[in-house]
Symmetry: D3
């Protein structure tokens, strides 16, 4: 069936196409992101579009479908910048829990959550909500994976970027150049966050005035394409593992 | 400034562009929708894409920006269909409350919420969250409008559709034909929902097996374009009113 | 059994009488209302006493019992007037959910909620709580209807009142004159609310300084009696439908 | 002003009468109760009508007004009997908190809560909600008293009833005979609850099959009248203390 | 098995020792306390160490184990003193509910909660959480007792202390002298709390400036030892009752 | 003042000693832990006693005081083992938020949270609660650090343990041998957890049957003492930084 389907986006299908997809044990790839400050050269949706791009490419490759992206996440470090839209941890938990419940109700049993935003609180909430769904639906054999595309992107740091490359740095800028070059404005400037190791502070933005951690000037579209291809391959392997 | 901005999408801008837009008293248009069964001829995202299309067109016309769309809503009538992704009323309230708070924190004072899904519970939650934001930020002069594009579309029923036209009917199908013709599959079939007037039931889907209320076979792209144009004009007037 | 019972009020019965009533498949009529400003000529309990009156009369007529009235509701438009006692939407949901659960635990399977207050948020919360009870108790065959007596009263507007008649207007004033004439002070004054169609505002009371929408001076006790009789008949039919 | 007012019931007044009463520093007496099994001879509303009767009499005597009674409370011991309508502790807290907030918003500063139900969890929730209101409104000088009419009724046990007299016993039955003789069915039977001192159990009703703790056969209307008169006097003194 | 176990503290055992203890139907004694002002002569942990001492002694005597003490409770009267650490009622409920659930999941079916703090709100929350656990686990035969060691200590008031002895008074001071003499500083001073009987106030500390209710100068280590011994004996009897 | 104080434990002090300590700008060290399976050779309280030991030693060294330890945490990996007592993320958040609020109310402005349990969800909740306290009390200059003693212990892995050493492994076993040798039973057995990298599973215990990750047989008391000394030194430096 998946071969004939024209769309990979869950919500571009009709209800009966979804029922059919569920019956065919289709894997659902669920992209999450954030809307947060990414310096002056990258858009607020930087995290989101990376995960969404990967999700769509992997879905095409593996006959999966892509759940409606959730661009709202928990952003602690950038929470005081204009344009960052951070939500409370309870809100994210409830949203993820509700949506996974609905996927399960619709008949899906294999879900891969991929988050372009890799903030620690954010990832924890994705995992806690998933864990509660998996435990509550044990009898139905529901399986859920939760990852960030940066789990794989970071494996390429030695090759494509300097050690410590991160937020709005070489890799992230390269990837956006490959996905949505129209959204990249200029080349950015290399910088380093100076967040305290242990202190929890009211004004993290003072430690990261440029909202860059790494060197965006070293970014190229070619790097981005290679990194994206690598991540697509790796995530596709996970989808195949979920199918088994 | 708004004339030079290339993007209208909030999250395709950078943090400093957002700061600038807020300083310029830019209106934020915030599209909401749903992911719910719309018969076999329309996609699950039917509600969402209509509001998003209107939002973008009005934003272009009025120099506004479009907040990241929220496609998750409360869907009671279609909640047992495969593919419907309904969320709990508390989740929607929290999400809207969090996001409006963040817009206000970022400096925006004029927000227009437009929802392609017009379910009663859904609209009430949008309004209650907005009301709490408006009251809590009275001193800042925050103003919020909440409407459904169907508030205007329904004004055209006598002209373009039979009385009672609704979910996945003539108007809605026409509008999707005008916006995303690639997502329309066939012509659908006319039908009527037979929901009990007062009884709250566990299986509303049995009263609306086709998930159609109206006559989609009377839909045309031309009707959809005219209806959309009308709505755009009306919503643009509201934006102008908000600017004052 | 119901014929011999002297009381129709649920809470004027004893525990064993309730057990017996539940066993006899008695319908429970559950009146809701509000405590909110109704101009200078009507009391704060205006909404409540109308629904309670209807509930008692229908109960007598149909052998039903009347659950302890809930006078606390969600009042948005009048929420800044002295004397309005509005509660949060979560509080109303919890209260209704708790009470319906207890009726079901006590053995009742047929419940009709009638609300004298017809505010949109209020009605939505009554319906959402009812829906969750009905779905959770599907196996027990629990049935719940939710309506406002104004659903029927409004059908008589062409006959007894001017188009648009509403809050503290002809119909409502007439009905209170018929039910509790001692609580009506003077004749009131005709007025119209000028609430914005879409804007959610911090001070709705400024749009409705008199808290009247309609013409109370056209009210008469006779009109009230006829309207009440009509509603009683209509609600009694619903109760009979519930009994089937 | 209070002398001219015909009604003592808060919600039988109009919004402007309430504003006037608040301005005149009127004390609000707020009756709470329960709906719970009281053996076969007393109605479910036994607790409620006692507090409401006292509230009205004290209000008349002291020029106070009576807030709309809340008959819903937390009933642990009788929670498994048919007809008992117990609510969750969070629901009661929220309801009391919302309603006291609204009284304060309406301008009242002196509130006396009198509960006919004296269950421990119930009283604690009344007090916790009141405490939070008092602390949050310290600057406004809000004062709240919380008591049960049984705090005074029990002072008369040596005189009118045997030691240990309680639920549906001599005093309570006598009081209902004086207040609503039409709701008393027969004389009841003396019994004793045998609740475990420390164990928290799933079926307390097995320890109190008759739902009587005391001797209702010793009840008389005359005792009831004297007890009620005593309580009225005592509560009136508290109201005077609140006025100071 | 219980004879060979060296430790009585639940959390000093290993996971498999716990599994074994659960299989052997071991009773879990769960000490609760508070951290609150106890005048100048007693430490903040006064309530906690009394319950913990009793718990350990009873556990040794009866072959039970002692769950990890919870020193956090609800302290209303002393809530404005420095050093008092009071938690919200919802927090205590959630904590107790979570922990009892985990004991049940680990296989335990007999639990005795003993609280050194006997504040009314505090005890109610312990009981409500326990009640919900007992009802939800009826099929598993879970039994829970909830008491304060002061339920027994107060039985000795005529013998060891003046009537009305309470917070930081003769009995409490004596008990701490017997348990942790190193934590007693000086002899304290006799005093009486003058809390209003019914009014709920923002500043209870003004009614109890010394945080003493009773006469600590009459305290002796010998009294404390005798009282503790009495309580241990009484609680041990309850444990035996739970074993049956 | 801190030199004369005999106790370092917050709750072994009296209310006035706490007031004095707060006035002297004393740092509060707040130890957190867990109660979770740590194989057969270590007790359930393993995480807790390490953090508590460090806290006390650092407090002695720096004139700080130690807040009452919280041994209840979020344990995902070991949550199905007998004896693990995991609490919900909302419960931990609420508890930490309440307790930090109370420390701030008591006058403290410098708090160091040290957690012996380093689970990701657990640390995130400690940080989120702290962040909310710090932001809400910005005007008071409240500063909070959050760390795990394993943040420092892990720095010594190359020296004292094999790469990957973790739960109940060489370092943890050595540390417990140095702190509470009486709680160590035998030498344990080397093992490796085989948790899936991304999949969120219902039965993590099947991936870690021994609840060991590392080689406990390589543990020695001497290693433990050295590691503890190193951590104490490092944490003491943080306390000094907080004092500035």
């Amino acid at each position: 069936m998946t071969n004939q389907r024209k769309q990979v986006m869950f919500d571009e299908l009709s209800s009966d196409e979804i029922a059919e997809a569920a019956k065919a044990s289709t894997v659902v790839i669920f992209p999450f992101g954030s809307i947060e400050a990414h310096s002056t050269h990258l858009p607020l949706c930087t995290d989101s579009i990376q995960a969404e791009y990967i999700a769509v490419e992997v879905a095409k490759k593996t006959g999966s479908i892509v759940a409606p992206p959730v661009r709202f996440g928990i952003c602690n470090a950038t929470r005081n910048f204009p344009g960052t839209l951070t939500i409370q941890f309870n809100t994210l938990y409830a949203l993820v829990h509700d949506l996974l419940s609905e996927l399960v109700r619709s008949g899906f049993r294999r879900i891969l959550i991929i988050s372009g935003h890799a903030g620690n609180s954010h990832m924890v909430m994705l995992r806690l909500a998933s864990q509660d769904i998996v435990s509550a639906n044990e009898a139905k054999g529901v399986r859920v994976m939760v990852l960030s595309d940066f789990d794989f992107a970071d494996e390429l740091i030695p090759e494509y970027a300097a050690v410590g490359d991160g937020h709005a740095g070489t890799i992230e800028t390269s990837r956006v150049m490959a996905i949505r070059p129209d959204l990249v404005k200029g080349k950015g400037k290399a910088d380093v966050w100076r967040m305290p190791r242990f202190e929890v502070i009211a004004h993290p933005e003072l430690c990261i005035p440029s909202a860059v951690h790494g060197d965006p000037t070293a970014a190229t579209k070619e790097k981005g394409e290679k990194i994206n291809r690598y991540i697509i391959e790796k995530v596709a392997e996970l989808v195949e593992e979920l199918k088994r």
